[in-house]
Amino acid sequence: MAPFLDLVNLPDADLVALAQQGREAAYREILRRYERPVFSLIFRMVRDRETAEDLAQDSFIKVLNHIDRYRPEFKLSSWLFKIANNVAIDHLRKRHVDTISMDGSPHARTAAEIEATSIEIAAKQETALEEMENRELGSAIERAIAQLRPEYKACIMLRHVEGRSYEEIATTLDLPLGTVKTYIHRARHQLREALEPTRE
């Protein structure tokens, strides 16, 4: 019976089967197992702790509320990362549309026009949350990752932090295998270039 099962050592497929039987403990174990990997992926993509928590929460709610639709031939982690990546990319696209340049209109031609269209933000002290984010994502490599395109970030995180194969990444992100390979090679190249000055 479920309460006596050692859920911590249970494979993902068995855990999902228990969740499909309505075992709340199995839901909690899925959450415990993947909250950090999913949150890390999203946090490194959006670089804002609060937003990352909201997006990770959305991802888990989507997965857990539709656990009955899970197909065993697909890895649970791949399904989770796929949804997390989609949620993060959607957010970034939406944010990109909503973003107003603080450096003035791109159509401005003269210094006066640039000044007239620029937005000034009052200097403010770093909040506790920002301080924590800086501590977490402030290292040279994290700053270099921040400069990557979101697609590159997802690929490089899945490859190196999660240890996924190229094939798994291709399935997870719905990309051709060759594209995944290209993204990872380009991402590594960009990271090496960005980190070069810090190594000298």
């Binding site: 075992r23 909690r28 959450l31 890390s40 929460q57």
Partner: protein, 196 residues
């Protein structure tokens, strides 16, 4: 093997433990070429650094927030199975005792069933006597209760009205109980609303 330096993609393939059919030749070249070896070391540093990136954790109440919005759906057959399992004793000894008791009861019931089937007349007689006794017992209890609550005179009056009168009186009593229960519920709800 041609003695040329490795191409960027070939370095990446070697780092990924790939390289296809060319892998042995590429490794052979790496063993002899200090320049390519140094480049591979430089590239592998990044991979090592990336692999050591930590998993970052959400706030402590994250899982609670998620679970509060997740609907755990338990299929009916699982709920039924669980209910049955809850009735089974936990310890082995208790399960044995329950099993032996169940077997004994089943045996007695089966024997009684067989005896009743073989002795139909006696079974009917026993059944009739049993029903009469139960009926007399139940009626006696009800009469006793009514006499205690309403008095002897009320009971006599009720007996005088026959079955119809008894049914009407019973309906009135049930109605009063229902009205009282609904009234108490309304009062309780109003009181709770006031408190919140």
């Amino acid at each position: 093997m041609e003695h040329r330096h490795l191409l960027p993609d070939e370095f990446e393939d070697i780092l990924d433990g790939d390289g296809g059919d060319h892998a042995p030749a590429l490794r052979e070249h790496l063993d002899t070429c200090a320049e390519c070896k140094a480049e591979l070391t430089r590239r592998s540093e990044l991979s090592r650094e990336l692999e050591h990136l930590p998993h970052l954790g959400p706030a402590p109440l994250f899982s609670y927030r998620v679970m509060s919005q997740v609907q755990v759906f338990e299929p009916w057959h699982v709920a039924l199975r669980d209910s049955v399992r809850r009735l089974v004793p936990q310890t082995k000894a208790a399960r044995w005792i329950a099993g032996v008791t169940a077997v004994m009861i089943a045996t007695v019931m089966t024997m009684a069933g067989i005896w009743a089937a073989l002795n139909t007349e006696s079974a009917w007689l026993f059944a009739e006597v049993g029903v009469k006794r139960v009926r007399a017992g139940v009626l006696g209890s009800i009469k006793g209760a009514l006499e205690t609550v309403f008095g002897r005179d009320a009971l006599n009056a009720l007996e005088g009205t026959g079955v119809t009168g008894t049914l009407v009186a019973a309906s009135i009593v049930v109605g009063v109980i229902l009205v009282a229960a609904i009234g108490f519920r309304v009062v309780a709800l109003a009181s709770r609303r006031r408190r919140s």
